[in-house]
Symmetry: D2
Subunit: 135 residues, 4 copies
């Protein structure tokens, strides 16, 4: 399935995100990608905060990231997100962090998510999201 | 090679680390594991800040994490670190985040690192670290 | 009123908290102090997460911090918290961040908090907390 | 002195910045304002990372913030910065965080900074910055 071709979020490095090596701390690529996933979902009509209030937690179950280069203070970058479903309870986000100045892929990731029904603790998507991803 | 059996760091969740779902934001497991790697290295005589000042950046090149459960506000946890070398320029950290109350493995990761000589931009370890890991 | 003499939390700098100057980014002192306030409240029987679930948000309304020195990678520190009430809806935390190696006060703060009843949007404390602070 | 009328930075809340109350954790207003100060300085020709490399640390010595409301998931906001000098070694940033939807001032701050010459540990600005602020 191909819900949406590709969603792209653009931003810039904040100095508090760099570490004593002068490069962006890896945890921030993680944060950038999560934010882009939420924005991507929102564009598809799924609001992360609302889903949480309804008793469902959208969670990451697996991540695999290759770090190819580092962003630095002041760098502009984009983060891409492409969605694929996997079985009946997995939504996979293929994501890249790209430095805008030279189009270099700084990080590339496969982020696998699911939805946990907080009352039962089991994977289950609300109807709206289920329909969106599995038709 | 088995530099050191297992290094363990213990800590507790800070409320700013939880998100609007009431669970720890995944980026923090990433931060916990990085901190534990630095502590593990320090115990072996490698100081992250000093290495940076000498013109070498210890960097993550690949991470693979399985998230099995979530920590919550106030939870105590431990993070483990076990080192394996891979080829001549890769140091792999096998890591787990464990909730102390029930010993549940919350996250399990394979974090692959290298050392970049900042002047040349190429992988190269300072002599001391090289000796430590490859004898 | 003097609810509790002084609460003290001890911890150590994590490398992700330092910035490209090699010193701890100021936002972290803020986080350390908030965590210490939550721990102090918990010791007094007030759980931040539970209070939120009951429809009350404990919030900071004013902060004043003097930064006298900087913590660095690996530094151990303590954060103190002393509570004073101010009028009927203000709880003031007098706090210090102290470097353990030389007992130097790195940051000193007056943090003024209140409790917002989320339904009405007005300052109001749950009965239990009211009794605790105003007897 | 009035170096520059007002510098404005616009952004949006990232979900990892909200806490279990569903509102932005206060430490983030701190980060937003620091980023805006750095952007303001950069516009005036002062690069935070370069200054650090030259052996000078631009640091906050005092902050006073009034928190009047809270940003939530998805909120757009702007942060303003207005510079005033104070004596010969203090640069004061008057700053506001404003929610764009209703122009409400969410936080208002007076952030006082100086420049530390890392070798001597004493307040001293590099010539270029000195000229910029004190003519």
């Amino acid at each position: 399935m191909n819900v949406e071709e590709i969603y792209i979020w653009e931003s810039e490095v904040r100095d508090n995100e760099t570490d004593l090596q002068g490069i962006v701390n890896n945890s921030n690529y993680f944060i950038y990608m999560a934010h882009t996933r939420h924005k991507h979902l929102k564009m598809l009509g799924v609001d992360f905060a609302e889903v949480a209030q309804q008793g469902y937690n959208l969670v990451l179950v697996h991540t695999e990231i290759s770090f190819r280069d580092s962003l630095r203070s002041g760098d502009l970058f984009s983060v891409t997100s492409k969605i694929e479903t996997k079985g009946k309870v997995r939504v996979v986000f293929l994501q890249k962090v790209i430095r805008l100045s030279d189009k270099k892929v700084v990080a590339e990731a496969t982020n696998t998510t699911t939805c946990i029904h907080t009352q039962t603790g089991r994977p289950r998507f609300p109807e709206g999201i289920k329909k969106l991803f599995w038709g």
